[in-house]
């Protein structure tokens, strides 16, 4: 079968080629390797769009593609065969476009952020970006779990290299190490999960491979095992009840997801990762590393849909993370820190949607979030260039008039993030909450209740999201400039404005692909994404199939409820958040009141009291809550991680003491252990 699918490997190979070229020839190129990356990602983008069109049936009949390309480890008899293969279905085709688009724009933006700023070591930077894009793209079209795992790991490695790009400073290397180790911690669970899946099913395929002999996929096998008996499906559940066992496997894989997608409690690496260059942050947050986790759940959704427990865990983790991270975003002072927490929070929404059976909603939010979060990060990057790498928002202010392009695009992204109609984030976040609500209402038993709990947390988070987003916007762009740098910011060039404009328009419009409330009200069929994901050549990866699975195995059903009222509720909350931020921060000089406190006159004092009062009113609950959350984060979660490592090191320092250096002691220890073994295995073992 010739056609576009033969070129799909090139989607990942092109950036990989760029990696090689930048690494070895970057020094000799005028832009230090950026050319290679831009051309390669542009090529990937073109191929991805072509693929998308093919899958959509615009260039011909709608098709999907799933084949093994290269047999990597042909196991002996009874052993597992590991393949490299490609799976292109509506989900992966969509994701390919998103990833390659963001990667392309980030490359262009880097010209402005890195080259124009005169950074050194750029070939290494562009090589890293190329490998990062390549591994993410390959991860997206992986057709089996092990291949996915390998590229998942490679994505982690690249993030390590890029976050630690400025390795001569103190903070980035440690942030890089933290990112690497925390995600690795999750990945070890993932690895056990992978091995478990292979041991259980003998295959890691996401979807069946058609051919001379159809190879079954593991979600299908799991489904058969649950429907019938495990032996018939050829599934070894190691003596557990299949349902229990699949839940265990799902939760193990979820460990990797929680690490990569920065979900509670493994989210700690993400705010630190802000130490990396801003375009890298954009790439990590919008399209690659963090998205990888959520994408993986969506990819093997046919497996998760079988286990109500796993779904409930996903939903709860998601809802809790959404709320928890949003409250912490409220007290942060640095632009990128706010964005970091917003990312954690938004991925929490996606997890909530996945857990609540809102597969489409999750993919939708993944899409819109990719666009507006890339936009916000690039906008922040633009601000940072302008402010000469000063990131504290309290030193900014009034940038609206001095950098209008950045301001309006950033505003577009903020409106999307806050969820204000009609920007992209509104539609997707609304749908996430809507799905959580209707499935929570419609499902029987504990899972319904848990989904409603998740919904409640997500709903509250909407308010905080809007609040911190606009606090950020007002502090940065509105009011009077608070420092000299802010009065005279450095101008940015086309290579910054271009990507911003593209994404700014995208953030305003990408939500139109799936306007469910509008579709409901007007009765017109404009929920394109629903239709897109509902059908496909590979029937087991469609939402129709997932719906059946959810109904049959997990007992998750939607209730009859119109989307308009819940949408209105979340919109009102979002507007309330924006209003609160407006009241507190959209004043000429939000901080000056407090600064002049010492020698202030009565009127100012009065203003101050008012201000303080308002602050207390609005944040009286929030700040302690946020502080508590922050404290919990740094004290308990970090403490546990640090505790484990120090216990290991302590244990190590004890173990090494055995090695006393005196050979007679060794002889004694050897003799003792010989005697011990003899006693245990010969005498106690009943041989004598």
């Amino acid at each position: 079968m010739a056609g576009v699918y033969d070129f799909v490997p090139a989607v990942a190979l092109l950036p990989f080629l760029a990696f090689v070229v930048s690494l070895f020839a970057g020094e000799y190129m005028p832009k230090r390797g950026a050319e290679a990356g831009i051309i390669a990602t542009a090529g990937s983008l073109a191929l991805s769009v072509w693929t998308l069109l093919t899958v959509a049936g615009i260039t011909g009949p709608a098709t999907s593609f799933n084949e093994n390309l290269y047999t990597w480890v042909a196991g002996g008899e009874g052993a597992v065969t590991l393949n490299f293969g490609i799976l292109v279905d509506p989900l992966s085709a969509l994701m390919l476009v998103i990833v390659s688009l963001i990667a392309f724009l980030v490359h262009v933006f880097s010209l402005g952020y890195m080259n124009d700023e005169g950074e050194t070591g750029l070939p290494r930077y562009y090589a890293g970006l190329g490998l990062f894009s390549a591994s993410m793209l390959a991860f997206v079209f992986s057709n089996n779990l092990l291949m996915a795992f390998m590229f998942f790991e490679l994505v982690g490695l690249c993030s390590y290299l890029l976050i630690g790009f400025w390795f001569r400073e103190a903070a980035p290397p440690s942030a890089a190490k933290k990112a690497f180790l925390v995600t690795r911690f999750g990945d070890y669970f993932f690895l056990i999960g992978v091995v478990g899946v292979f041991a259980t099913f003998g295959t890691g395929l996401f979807a069946p491979v058609e051919g001379a002999e159809t190879l079954a996929s593991f979600p299908e096998l799991a489904e058969e095992a649950l429907a019938g008996s495990a032996e018939e499906a050829g599934v070894n559940t190691f003596g557990y009840d299949p349902g229990t066992w699949f839940t265990i496997l799902g939760l193990l894989v979820l460990g990797g997801v929680v690490g990569k997608s920065a979900q509670f409690p493994l989210h700690t690496w993400l705010p630190d990762a802000m130490e990396g260059p801003t375009p890298v942050s954009a790439l990590i947050h919008a399209a690659t590393m963090v998205a990888a986790g959520v994408y993986l759940v969506a990819r093997m959704y046919g497996f998760y849909a079988l286990s109500p427990t796993a779904l409930a865990v996903i939903a709860l983790i998601g809802g809790f993370t959404a709320l928890f991270a949003a409250t912490m975003g409220v007290v942060k002072q640095e632009l990128k820190q706010v964005l970091a927490y917003s990312t954690i929070s938004q991925y929490g929404y996606m997890m909530l949607a996945l857990g609540a059976g809102g597969y489409t909603a999750a993919v939708f939010h993944l899409t819109t979030h990719a666009v507006f979060k890339a936009l916000l990060f690039l906008g922040a990057g633009s601000v940072i260039i302008a402010m000469h790498h000063e990131e504290n928002m309290w030193t900014m202010g009034g940038l609206r008039d001095r950098m209008p392009v950045t301001y309006y695009t950033f505003l577009s992204g903020s409106l999307a993030l806050a969820g204000i109609v009609p920007f992209a984030g509104f539609w997707s976040k609304d749908e996430v909450l809507f799905e959580a609500l209707i499935h929570g209402l419609g499902s029987e038993g504990a899972i319904g209740t848990l989904l409603l709990v998740g919904y409640a947390m997500g709903l509250v988070a909407v308010f905080f999201t809007a609040f911190y987003t606009f606090r950020m916007v007002f502090l940065t762009f509105h009011g009077e400039p608070r420092t000299d740098t802010a009065r005279d910011p450095e101008p940015v060039r086309w290579n910054v404005k271009g990507p911003l404009t593209v994404l700014g328009i995208g953030a305003a419009t990408v939500g139109f692909i799936n306007m469910v409330p509008v579709a409901e009200v007007t009765g017109r069929e404009i929920d394109y994404l629903h239709k897109w994901l509902a059908h496909g050549d590979i029937s087991v990866t469609t939402t129709e199939h997932y719906g059946e699975l959810l109904h049959t195995f997990a007992g998750v059903d939607p209730a009859e409820l119109g989307p308009v009222a819940p949408g209105a509720v979340s919109l009102v909350l979002a507007l309330a958040g924006v209003g609160a931020a407006w009241k507190l921060y959209n004043v000429p000089d939000p901080e000056e009141h407090t600064d002049k406190l010492g020698g202030a006159k009565t009127v100012l004092m009065h203003n101050y009291y008012l201000d303080e009062f308002q602050v207390w009113l609005a944040t009286g609950v929030t700040v302690p809550l946020a502080r508590a959350a922050d404290k919990f984060d740094q004290g308990v979660v970090d403490g546990v991680v640090n505790g484990i490592s120090s216990v290991s090191l302590f244990g190590g320092s004890r173990f090494r003491r055995i090695q006393s250096g005196v050979v007679t002691n060794y002889a004694t220890l050897m003799t003792l252990s010989l005697v011990l073994l003899l006693v245990v295995f010969v005498v106690a073992g009943g041989v004598v």
Binding site: R657, Q659, S660, G661, V662, V663, T664, A667, T668, T671
Partner: protein
């Protein structure tokens, strides 16, 4: 009458234990070597005795090899003890303890 094989086992175990005792209590490298020789010869006792017990010569031939190897081992060992003395001015095995942990 033939002596029961179990007694040979006891004898060899005793010789082995004496060798082990020497290793554990003495710090002189040469005494260490002698103790190892005792332990190897304990094995030889077993081999020869059970060769007789089973009526095949396998054990006896193997004990020849063991003796040869024991001699080779001692040759190497004395060489090491010599360089030990050259570097540490002593053949006390507990003195050479600069590398540890």
């Amino acid at each position: 009458m033939a002596i029961l094989s179990e007694f040979y086992l006891l004898l060899s175990a005793a010789v082995f234990s004496i060798g082990l005792y020497g290793i554990l209590t003495r710090s002189n490298a040469l005494v260490f070597l002698m103790s190892v020789e005792l332990m190897l010869n304990a094995a030889n006792i077993n081999l020869v005795a059970f060769s007789f017990h089973y009526g095949n010569v396998t054990g006896q031939v193997f004990s020849l090899f063991t003796m040869a190897l024991a001699a080779a081992e001692v040759a190497i060992g004395i060489g090491i003890v010599l360089v030990l003395y050259r570097n540490f001015e002593d053949i006390d095995v507990t003195k050479a303890a600069t590398m540890r942990w």
